[in-house]
């Protein structure tokens, strides 16, 4: 037994060593510290200057990853990577069987390449051991030992190292499992955070901003950008980005978005421009289409630095980005539904409000009619006897003046009551064939003969070929007078009234349209819904029945009245009446 071997057998008790190592490997230390401690112990107890571990990197290449503290070679070796099968490390990995070298052998070549700076150094090493780190099914890396101070490893040590390499393989395996579960947990956390945002009732803008933020934060991405191609949400912004899009990737982002939209699946930069990606491109990019009901709503693009700390979207990112994109599409669907639902609810609310208003007006109308009826008799009595009084007694000038005031007021009250009672009671139509242009002219002639119309300019654009319509001419004249008088009052007797007649269609049926436009400053939009409501008035002495009666008359004619309001300018009332052929006399009665 040579001196050196004797020395080794004295210093190494494999059972003790194995005990220490198992203790460390089962400790709670972080992986790197655990492995480094193990490598340090091996180096010290087995007098090996270099104890190094190769593991696989993202590209499945063997890379020098761990070494004992005093290692000199680590700094050189970790610059090179080799595939399985390349060089001594690669070949051990491929064959999954250990190789040992002694002082008598030629120093082995580590990788597939010649490492000039290594060749010189390796001259000093006398013994080498290369052991696969594997269990029954998986290979996790290669353990390398080399010694300057020893000529060879003896058999007991080789057996010990075999056992040890299985143990280290176990540590690496559990570490990988932990890493992948951490990744899954972070993915799940991302999805759960997304779920929270997507089920919130946020406005679409906020929603998309939050989505981008959550994805970027939880994946540690450099930026996340959501581009909307088509959106029924009618947003004015089409891109929502969290983070800064590096100018060097802008073109790639656009290209990936286009490809994802075209192929209808997730794509990565590695798929689209593999050459550029391999040649040291800083970023890793993924795009996925956001698809809803077979329509591409937009794209989601996630970008991270390849070497970025904790960037979660790895090689298998397509799965995750697809899942996220699906989440977004259902979120957008929800938001859309929400928006529609909210609109529908608001419309329903408005309709209900209108109905209540109408109902209120109707019962108010009935009540008013009853009151009007009850007032009418006493009024007739007051007025009737006042007249008799005036006839029978020889009164002075003052008394006569008083009596005429009473009679004027009675007349005014009576006419108001008549209007109210007329509105409440239906008036039958006397259908006759009318030429609207003629009626307009007759009505205008009646009205404008009054001095108060001197400063009103009337502009007429009649369609001479207007078909005849069936209507009650007296009632129609009342409508025209109501609207024209309103226009006159809105303009305070000064302005332009434009009257137009033309043919129109409504629900595919022929109609004639009479539009009357004034320059009276329009109607306050807040009250425009009320203009046809009975008893609604803005006039000091109005009954609020003029337009209500007009509307009712036109409805009885199977027509309708539209109001077009330009606040600050004027208002146009458009009366639509059906053309005779489509409304027979019988329909009226």
């Amino acid at each position: 037994m040579s001196d050196s071997i004797k020395k080794q057998s004295q210093s190494v008790n494999p059972v003790d060593l194995l005990g220490k190592i198992i203790e460390i490997s089962h400790s709670n230390l972080e992986l790197t510290s655990r492995i480094n401690s193990i490598l340090n112990i091996i180096s010290r107890d087995m007098s090996c200057e270099e104890v190094i571990i190769y593991t696989f990197d993202k590209d499945k290449r063997l890379t020098c990853r761990f070494a004992n503290q005093k290692s000199v070679l680590f700094k050189i070796l970790n610059q090179y990577r080799c595939h399985v099968g390349e060089g001594i490390v690669g070949s051990v990995a491929q064959k999954r069987s250990p190789l040992f070298y002694t002082i008598r052998d030629v120093p082995p070549r580590f990788g597939c390449l010649f490492y000039p700076e290594l060749d010189e150094k390796l001259e000093n090493y006398k013994a080498f051991a290369f052991l696969p780190l594997a269990d029954d099914s998986y290979l996790y890396g290669v353990l390398v030992l080399s010694a300057v101070s020893r000529d060879a490893l003896h058999d007991a040590e080789k057996i010990f190292l075999s056992i040890l390499s299985r143990e280290i393989g176990g540590i690496l395996r559990s570490y990988e499992l932990i890493l992948s579960s951490k990744k899954r947990i972070s993915e799940l956390a991302t999805l759960s955070e997304l779920g929270k945002v997507l089920t919130s009732n946020a406005e679409p803008h906020e929603l998309l901003k939050n989505i981008a933020l959550i994805i970027a934060k939880s994946l540690n991405a450099t930026f996340v950008t959501i581009k909307l191609e088509y959106s029924p949400l009618k947003l004015d912004v089409h891109r929502f980005t969290y983070g800064v899009i590096d100018p060097s990737v802008q073109d790639h982002v656009r290209e990936l978005e286009g490809t994802a939209t075209r192929l209808l699946r997730a794509v990565s930069m590695k798929d689209c421009s593999p050459d550029e990606y391999e040649s040291g491109f800083r970023f890793s990019l993924f795009s996925a289409p956001v698809i809803s009901k077979n329509r591409v709503l937009g794209t989601l693009t996630i970008c991270g630095e390849k070497t970025g700390q904790n960037y979660t979207l790895g090689e298998d990112g397509q799965y995750l980005i697809n899942t996220i994109a699906n989440y977004i599409s259902s979120g957008l669907e929800n938001t859309l539904l929400n928006t529609r639902l909210r609109d529908a609810v608001r419309e329903l609310g408005d309709a209900q409000k209108r109905l209540i208003e109408q109902e209120k007006f109707r019962s108010l109308g009935e009540m008013t009619a009853n009151i009007a009826h009850e007032i009418k008799n006493p009024l007739v009595i007051i007025g009737g006897f006042t007249k008799r009084l005036a006839k029978q007694v020889d009164l002075g000038r003052t008394e006569n003046k008083y009596i005429s005031i009473i009679l004027n007021e009675v007349t005014r009250l009576e006419s108001i009551l008549n209007e109210v009672l007329n509105y409440v009671k239906e008036t039958p139509l006397l259908a006759e064939t009318c030429n609207i242009n003629d009626y307009l002219d007759e009505t205008l002639y009646l009205l404008t003969s009054d001095a108060s119309w001197e400063e009103v300019r009337i502009v007429k654009t009649y369609d001479p070929g207007l078909p005849p319509i069936a209507c009650d001419s007296q009632q129609l004249k009342q409508v025209l007078i109501n609207i024209l008088i309103n226009a006159h009052e809105a303009m305070h007797g000064r302005g332009t009234i434009t009257i137009q007649t033309k043919q129109a269609t409504y629900e595919n049926k022929p109609f004639i349209a009479i539009s009357i436009t004034d320059t009276g400053g329009g109607i306050d939009p807040a009250i425009i819904d009320n203009v046809f409501n009975p008893f609604f008035t803005t006039k000091e002495r109005g009954t609020g029945l003029g337009l209500a009666i007009s509307n009712k008359i036109i409805k009885n004619h199977k027509g309708h009245i539209d109001v077009e309001n330009i606040a600050g300018k004027g208002v146009t009332f458009i009366i639509y009446l059906p053309v005779k052929n489509h409304t027979t006399k019988e329909e009226f009665l």
């Binding site: 009826h373 008799n377 007739v380 009595i381 007025g383 007329n422 009671k425």
Partner: protein
């Protein structure tokens, strides 16, 4: 026909009084009834050249009374006189010979009566 007999039917006492005095001033002979039943009784007892009938009355209203009157004697002239401007959507009112809106100004009523009586 200057001394034509007119029956005024109205549930309001003062209206009856007003119409009576106004019509008597015109030279008519006026009798009064305060509802439909009373009017039918008076018509059974004597002949009237014309009936002025209010519509809204307790008991038997004017429209019912109008039908009864016309059923008994379709040539009996009747004027409906009501606070309502129009009552024509009720077809039964069509059988009346005239329709006057009740007013403090009785000229329309008098004119309608004269027209019907051919004065």
């Amino acid at each position: 026909m200057k001394n034509a007999r007119i029956l005024v039917v109205d549930d309001e006492e003062n209206i009856r009084l007003l119409f009576k005095e106004e019509l008597e001033d015109e030279g008519f002979e006026v009798d009064l009834a305060s509802n439909g039943f009373e009017a039918l009784d008076k018509l059974k007892q004597g002949r009237f050249d014309l009936v002025v009938l209010d519509i809204k009355m307790p008991g038997m209203d004017g429209i019912q009374a109008l039908n009864e009157i016309k059923n008994a004697n379709k040539d009996q002239p009747v004027i409906l006189c009501s606070a309502y401007g129009e009552f024509k959507q009720d077809f039964s009112s069509w059988v009346s010979d005239g329709y006057v809106v009740k007013s403090a100004d009785t000229r329309e009523l008098k004119q309608t009566i004269k027209n019907i009586l051919g004065l």
